[in-house]
């Protein structure tokens, strides 16, 4: 799992600590859903474009 607090600490303009705490659980849930999907991307798969 990524350390979302550490990532937040490294960006500017700052995100206040109390706001970071509110979004960390959301980011963890999103990561939990997203990581298995990206792990299954076949080698060489292209990105979507609007034709």
């Amino acid at each position: 799992m990524r350390d979302w607090r550490k990532i937040a600490a490294g960006i500017a303009p700052d995100i206040p600590a109390e706001d970071v705490e509110k979004i960390v659980p959301i980011m963890e849930a999103l990561e939990h859903a997203f990581e298995p999907l990206r792990a299954a991307i076949p080698q060489g798969a292209d990105m979507w474009t609007s034709e």
């Binding site: 979004i23 999103l30 997203f34 999907l37 609007s50």
Partner: protein, 469 residues
């Protein structure tokens, strides 16, 4: 009164455009203090434009069915000389020097803009509970949300203030208010209606479309909004002249035949967690389609949960990309929008690229569906409109975040870029509108309008006006 009825009345000189616009302005003055559907009302320019429309008709210049009819634009569409706020403090005093393409097209079609409608801040949310311009109230029950982000457009239609309104849909923002307001909305195929001049949220997810009270009114409006240049043939026009440039758009006739059409009914995902009212209303629509001669085909849809996850990653990043110049002005954002922007800032470029790679895979998987069916019919929102200020709700025995629950059946369709027609299919036991959506292959809006019109005629739920105001 529908758009086509009003158009006929104008040409029969039963009333004038000026009279229609005056009546629209009178109703807005009466209703807007209760529902807050409009941020700006353009009274003087509307009256002048209406008089011009009457004069044009009198000298034989007929711009088509929208000529002289009062309409509204979501306050995300740039309007030359008229403030365009995006429902945001940041753009509160922004007066564009140009019209959005869609504004110009509707103006060229003779429509008369009476105002700019309220919305969720920056179109980034589904309640239209706007912290800067006030909440939009649902005309069917003033304590309930109207949906969003095109909430003011939905409310203006449900309250019978205008004949049509424009909307945008990045994760359900045309279809959710249509569902909660008992109105009809079309999210067209991606880029079928020009995005130029519309303040962006998610560049690869934003769709512009019409909202109205009936399917045929939506068809007329879509025809006026459509980007003609570079149009490709639509699947339902096989055998004809495929250059859409000079073709009139499809308006469903008085009696629509859907016999033999294959309507897909999802076996998975879409009926998993729903209010019983919603499930019953949608299944009733399916039975109606079968009674009209359509063939109901059970289908398994590809992984909608995966599409929703991909869509969330894409939108979180794209919204930050659009709003980056303003991120240091945290005090100018509402708390919900700010939280979403903060989330997007934590994602990486690799996250975004991988989401777009997954999107291509999932789009290809989903396109296989269209070899088996002509459309897919699903619920729109899992419940009727929640109350203003409500943050969680019980859906099928599970407590869910209102935003995530309400977008559950919406977001994937923006990732796919396919058209979706949202329309009423019944009312809850407490008298609130319930909606369904009809999905189709890319550029096959005509098929959705055809099936939607047949169901509308048979079920009789569309075109109703909220009477509780």
């Amino acid at each position: 009164m529908t758009i086509l009825e009003a158009a006929a009345g104008l040409r029969a000189r039963k009333f004038s455009s000026r009279e229609l616009v005056d009546e629209s302005l009178r109703r807005i003055a009466q209703s807007n203090p209760k529902i807050n559907a409009f941020i700006t009302v353009t009274e003087e320019s509307a009256k002048a434009r209406a008089s011009q429309a009457d004069e044009e008709l009198a000298r034989g210049l007929d711009r088509g069915p929208l000529h002289g009819l009062p309409i509204a634009h979501k306050d995300l569409m740039m309007t030359r000389g008229v403030r365009t706020t995006a429902g945001s403090k940041i753009f509160a005093d922004f007066v564009p020097g140009v019209d959005a393409d869609v504004v110009k097209k509707l103006d060229d079609a003779g429509a008369v803009m009476v105002g700019k409608t309220n919305l969720h801040e920056l179109a980034y949310g589904i309640t239209s509970n706007n912290p800067h311009f006030g909440a939009v109230h649902n005309p069917w029950d003033l304590e309930r949300i109207v949906g969003g982000s095109s909430g003011g457009s939905g409310a203006a239609l449900a309250a019978n203030l205008v004949f049509m309104a424009t909307g945008t849909d990045t994760g359900g923002s045309i279809r959710i208010p249509s569902s909660f307001c008992g109105t009809v909305g079309l999210k067209p195929t991606y880029e079928r209606v020009s995005r130029r001049g519309v303040i962006p949220l998610g560049l690869t997810l934003d769709h512009i479309g019409p909202m109205a009270r009936t399917v045929r009114d939506v068809a007329v409006s879509f025809n006026a909004m459509l980007s003609r240049q570079g149009d490709l043939p639509t699947p339902s026009r096989k055998g004809g002249d495929h250059t859409a440039v000079d073709q009139p758009g499809y308006i469903p006739p008085a009696h629509v035949d859907i016999r033999g059409l294959r309507i897909g009914l999802p076996e998975n995902f879409y009926f998993d967690r729903l209010d019983l009212d919603v499930a019953g209303a949608v299944r009733n629509a399916v039975q109606t389609a079968a009674a009209l001669g359509a063939r109901i085909v059970d289908v398994r849809v590809p992984d909608i949960g995966a599409l929703n996850t991909v869509g969330r990653v894409l939108l979180l990043v794209e919204a930050v990309s659009n709003l980056r110049p303003y991120l240091s002005q945290r005090e100018k954002f509402g708390s919900d929008v700010l939280a979403l922007l903060d989330q997007g800032r934590l994602l990486s470029g690799a996250d975004y690229a991988d989401a777009q790679r997954l999107r291509k895979i999932l789009v290809t998987e989903f396109s296989e569906l269209w070899t088996h069916v002509d459309c897919v019919l699903t619920p729109c929102t899992p419940t009727a409109a929640p109350k203003i200020g409500q943050t969680t709700m019980d859906v099928g025995g599970v407590t869910e975040d209102v935003r995530l629950a309400t977008t559950r059946m919406m977001r994937a369709i923006n990732v796919l870029g396919i058209p979706s027609l949202a329309m009423p299919c019944g009312f809850s036991t407490s008298g609130l509108p319930l909606g369904m959506q009809i999905l189709g292959a890319p550029r096959n809006e005509d098929m959705l309008l055809r099936i939607g019109a047949a169901l509308e005629d048979a079920m009789g739920f569309a075109g109703r006006i909220a009477s509780r105001l």
